[in-house]
């Protein structure tokens, strides 16, 4: 793992403001743009965009603030999202499709279907979710680049 961590070709961090629905989705579109410009396959871009979108929306809906970091390595993409907020009292329950604690306002905007975390799980190759109730949530997920065309310039620059 330390070898892979030393081989990070890009690390970008984005700040997410909780409750800011006006700019909702802007971080995931920035991540998508970076991956597109780097030349990743549409499959990698789609899976990463979906998982990042859901993670971003979770911070906006449930936390007061958070940071989302994107790491690009030759073998995988890694996203880490840390937030300060109410946290998740029961992570296993939250992972169940359809379970949601969203408010009426969140529902009206079309969020809070209780599918976000399972969408993240279904579009990634590994996911870790931990939370301290009343403090915040830590989410990490990986998108494997196995079988992908490694001629992406970003992966070869300075490598």
């Amino acid at each position: 793992m330390s070898g892979a961590e030393n081989n990070i070709h890009l690390h970008e961090m984005f700040h997410i403001a909780g409750g800011n629905f006006t700019n909702a989705g802007s971080i995931s579109s920035q991540v998508k743009k970076i991956l597109k410009e780097a030349g990743f396959s549409s499959r990698v871009i789609r899976r990463t965009s979906i998982a990042t979108f859901e993670a971003e929306m979770n911070v906006i809906c449930y936390a007061s603030r958070g940071n989302l970091s994107l790491f690009i390595t030759p073998d995988f993409l890694k996203i880490v999202v840390e937030d300060e907020g109410i946290g998740i009292p029961d992570v296993d329950l939250a992972m169940q499709e359809g379970y949601s604690t969203a408010s009426e306002r969140i529902h009206e905007l079309g969020f809070g279907a209780g599918m976000g975390l399972s969408n993240i799980k279904n579009n990634t190759d590994g996911m870790i979710l931990t939370s301290k109730f009343g403090q915040g949530t830590h989410l990490e997920f990986l998108i494997s680049l196995e079988g992908e065309d490694k001629s992406v310039p970003l992966l070869n620059a300075g490598g």
Binding site: A24, F53, A113, G114, M115
Partner: protein, 114 residues
């Protein structure tokens, strides 16, 4: 069947993406909860919804949908239009409610299975 065929059949108003109407429609999905649409819609689907905010463009683009139809005469937010033009995502408006429009699309041969 293309997005353009659907526009003509139901007299939909074109609000964005008029250059992308020749896209082939493969099935459809109706829903207003974005994560549900992310989970269940498929590439090439036409999406029927009442949501009008910019994130519908993000969802439709991520899932490579053929277009979005807003029902009940709802109009997209101006930021939604800007994003839709940027992404080339058709946004259409129907005066019909979601159930009626979905039923008519189904009768046209657009199934939910894509």
């Amino acid at each position: 069947m293309t997005v353009s065929d659907i526009v003509k059949s139901f007299g939909l108003k074109i609000r964005a993406g008029k250059n992308r109407l020749d896209e082939e429609v493969r099935g459809g999905y109706t829903g207003d909860l974005l994560s549900d649409v992310i989970a269940h819609s498929r590439k090439g689907n036409i999406w029927v919804t009442i949501q009008t905010h910019p994130n519908i463009v993000a969802v439709a683009t991520m899932k490579e949908l053929a277009g979005i139809i807003l029902t009940g005469g709802r109009e997209p937010d101006s930021e939604t239009l800007r994003k839709a033009e940027e992404e080339g995502m058709p946004i259409l408006v129907s005066s019909l409610l979601a159930f009626e429009l979905t039923g008519k699309l189904y009768q046209m041969g657009i199934s939910g299975m894509g």
